[in-house]
């Protein structure tokens, strides 16, 4: 599988390392070259410095033949727009955006974009954890 990852932060770099371990071809795009340090030494995938909003940068990353595209920069709007470009302009079969804001994540998901909202997932897990807490019998 040929995968493009935008944003080399904790999530992006973690995905990139796991994907190359699994034997996939990976290109990581980030505006800041120093972010690639998170990949550690000897990363066998490709690193590309540039703004992924720029269609030429995406073409350079090989988007025309990509099987999957994941955008995980620290900007919700950047992630949504990049994934929309990958999906709508380059017809990448699987384009995913990490979106912290549950409201925006819901709107774009409703219109067909694959969004992952860590905030919503954290809320659900925290709520489950709270619900699972034993109720004190001595009670106030």
């Amino acid at each position: 599988m040929y995968v493009i990852i935008v944003g080399c932060g904790r999530v992006g770099s973690g995905m990139a390392k796991q994907l190359v371990d699994e034997g996939h071809d990976v290109v990581v795009v980030d505006e800041d070259p120093s972010s690639f340090r998170l990949l550690g030494g000897g990363f066998p995938g490709h690193c590309l410095v540039g703004a992924a909003l720029d269609w030429d940068v995406l073409r350079q990353a090989g988007i025309e033949g990509a099987d999957a595209f994941a955008s995980a920069t620290d900007g919700d709007n950047t992630n949504i727009v990049c994934a929309l470009i990958a999906w709508r302009a380059f017809e990448v079969p699987c384009a995913i955006a990490r979106v912290y804001d549950p409201l925006r994540a819901r709107v774009f998901a409703k219109h067909g974009l694959h969004t992952i909202c860590p905030t919503e997932q954290a809320r659900v897990m925290m709520m489950d954890a709270v619900h699972a807490c034993p109720i004190s019998t001595t009670g106030e």
């Binding site: 909003l53 269609w55 709007n77 949504i80 727009v81 302009a89 409201l103 925006r104 709107v107 219109h111």
Partner: protein, 236 residues
């Protein structure tokens, strides 16, 4: 009319001032605290502090009842998102967005933003308009109205030179509207004869550029290449 403006930079502020003069109701959203503090005395309660790409901020500004939203922040991804939210979620009748970097124009086009304004692209057009040797200059694109305004120069060997406007073989969907000659604009009456050196303003449907160029520029000349390059720039 009620207008929501996102971004109180130079553009947003001046749009707000113009709307004040025209007597329209508006609200401006600004997320930089220092800019907000600076402009609050002038705009008072018509300035709202917050991130205009957050839906609850847009709702607080009154997006559900606005007639027009103007997305003029300094970040293209934010302007795209504002335009998308306005359209997909709030059915705002009209959206105008600023394109900061012309390289992002394809994204605005991809997502069907009604009207975009790009200072850099406009400046390039204006410079081309000023250059004596430029044969074809796109001046204005009204995307939603499906109409473009272009300027084309009549050269000495143009097939349309020395012809009356009514005798020019124009493609369908093209209208010659004015002639710029010697620094003044003339309305393009059918009996007006085109002279070499005239610059002709044409209204046309998008996609008619190549046919129009064929009516005005001599075929198989280097100018064709230059005009073609202009078109390619637009289409990129």
């Amino acid at each position: 009319m009620f207008v929501v403006i996102v971004g109180a930079g130079k553009v947003g502020l001046n749009v707000a001032r113009s709307l004040t003069h025209m007597g329209h109701e508006f609200i401006v959203i600004e997320q930089r605290r220092s800019r907000y503090d600076l402009l609050r005395p002038e705009l008072e309660e018509r300035l709202l502090f917050g991130d205009g790409t957050e839906m609850w901020v847009l709702e607080e500004a009154g997006i559900v009842r606005c007639d027009l939203i103007v997305a003029v922040t300094g970040d293209d991804e934010d302007n795209v998102i504002i335009a998308q939210l306005a359209k997909l979620e709030y059915n705002v009748p009209k959206v105008v967005a600023r394109v900061n970097n012309p390289r992002n124009q394809p994204t605005f086009d991809l997502l069907d933003v009604d009207a975009t304004v790009c200072a850099a692209t406009m400046m390039i057009s204006m410079i081309q308009h000023e250059l004596p040797s430029h044969q074809f200059v796109p001046l204005l694109s009204l995307k939603r109205e499906n109409m473009e305004v272009v300027e084309i120069e009549v050269s000495e060997d143009s097939p349309s030179a020395h012809l009356e406007i009514k005798d020019i073989r124009l493609p369908d969907g093209v209208l010659v509207s004015a002639i710029l000659r010697g620094g003044t604009a003339l309305l393009a009456r059918g009996s007006e004869v085109l002279l070499p050196g005239d610059q002709v303003l044409c209204l046309l449907a998008p996609g008619k550029e190549k046919e129009l160029i064929r009516s005005f520029l001599p075929s198989r000349k280097p100018e064709d290449v230059q005009a073609q390059a202009s078109i390619d720039t637009i289409n990129e």
